[in-house]
Amino acid sequence: MKTLEYEPPYLYPDYRSTELRAPKHEPIRLPDEWFHNVPGPVFGRIPVQAEDADLTRQHRGEPLGERIIVTGRVLDGDGQPVRDTLVEVWQANAAGRYVDPADDHDAPLDPNFTGAGRALTDDAGAYRFVTVKPGAYPWRNHLNAWRPAHIHFSLFGPSLASRLVTQMYFPGDPLITYDPILCSIPDPRGRELLVARFDLETTVPEWALGYRWDIVLRGRRATPAES
């Protein structure tokens, strides 16, 4: 398994913003053992409350849109759960508009939706967010460019090398094929890893659709330190 083919390159001209930002030099590869035992950043200063995992209850009223549950497990390379790790998420609202002042897309803001959440994984490595399905939105990468619906995820994991920022996509989205950000991943199987699965078991009758998405962080179970 060439996991490198599952990672996007730095330079991917179809995604224009890479052209002046991708380093020209190959990053210097250091031996794994120098880093995989380096503990990751201690994120304890980032406040996490239980209610931060429900993005539909951060305002006076309920946000517009299709209510969804997004849940899954965070695992290491051995398939072991990564417990007590921080998961941060952010997304556009159901109309495809971010609260962020930098977003000037002509779609309405929702006064009842911010679109940011946090959670810690439990003993089984599981996380669970309640939110609304984000809308697709246009961007100016090329003529008629639209981002497929997605939720941004940020995770720390146990080591410096396990830090991950990525995006989760929705199954059956016709925009996926045209998205240079997702298509920058060379191997289609790598792209598949970023698409959640609709799950009837997770779906709550009369209330919300359920999606499952497991996340695998780099690194294996900590081995005894060499020094």
Partner: protein, 158 residues
């Protein structure tokens, strides 16, 4: 072994979600040893990168900061405890246009030539090593990050 979940860019719209109160000040508590680090993130033609996210860590310290429209960032951390090599902070760079984040290290100014015993610095060409060192400027340390081109910062694959 399971394939790791691939990376995707942090995009331009994280500013309402990832910052938190006091995020740039990782030196809270014992502040007598606090160091203020200031720098700019620049792209391949020297233009400021106004939508980057920087994370700095060392031991149990962690700071997170955004660049402003001038590409400027700053954070505070306590001076690292000297180990076998030259003291440094781990720096991680996220931005629109970076499909994977970048890892680098900010070494404190090399006053005693400890570079010779640092095994990571030894992997780096002499000519590029200066990009990994902060400069003392009065009370602060300056550390610029050039993503591409002249004086490109050395980045590491972990």
């Amino acid at each position: 072994m399971r394939a790791p979940t691939p990376s995707q860019t942090v995009g331009p719209f994280f500013g309402f979600a990832l910052p938190f109160d006091g995020d740039a000040n990782g030196a809270s508590g014992e502040s007598h040893d606090a160091i203020r680090v200031e720098g700019h993130v620049l792209d391949g033609i020297g233009e400021p990168v106004g939508d980057a996210l920087i994370e700095a860590s060392e031991g149990d310290q962690f700071a997170r900061c955004r660049t402003d429209s001038e590409g400027a960032f700053h954070f505070n951390l306590r001076r690292p405890v000297a180990g076998e090599g030259t003291p440094f902070f781990y720096i991680t760079v996220f931005a629109r246009g970076l499909l994977r984040h970048l890892h680098t290290r900010m070494y404190l100014p090399d006053e005693d030539g400890a570079t010779r015993v640092d095994r990571v610095l030894q992997q780096v060409d002499d000519s590029r090593r200066p990009t990994l060192f902060a400069r003392q400027e009065g009370e602060i340390l300056r550390f610029d990050i050039r993503l591409q081109g002249d004086g490109e910062t050395v980045f590491f694959a972990l």
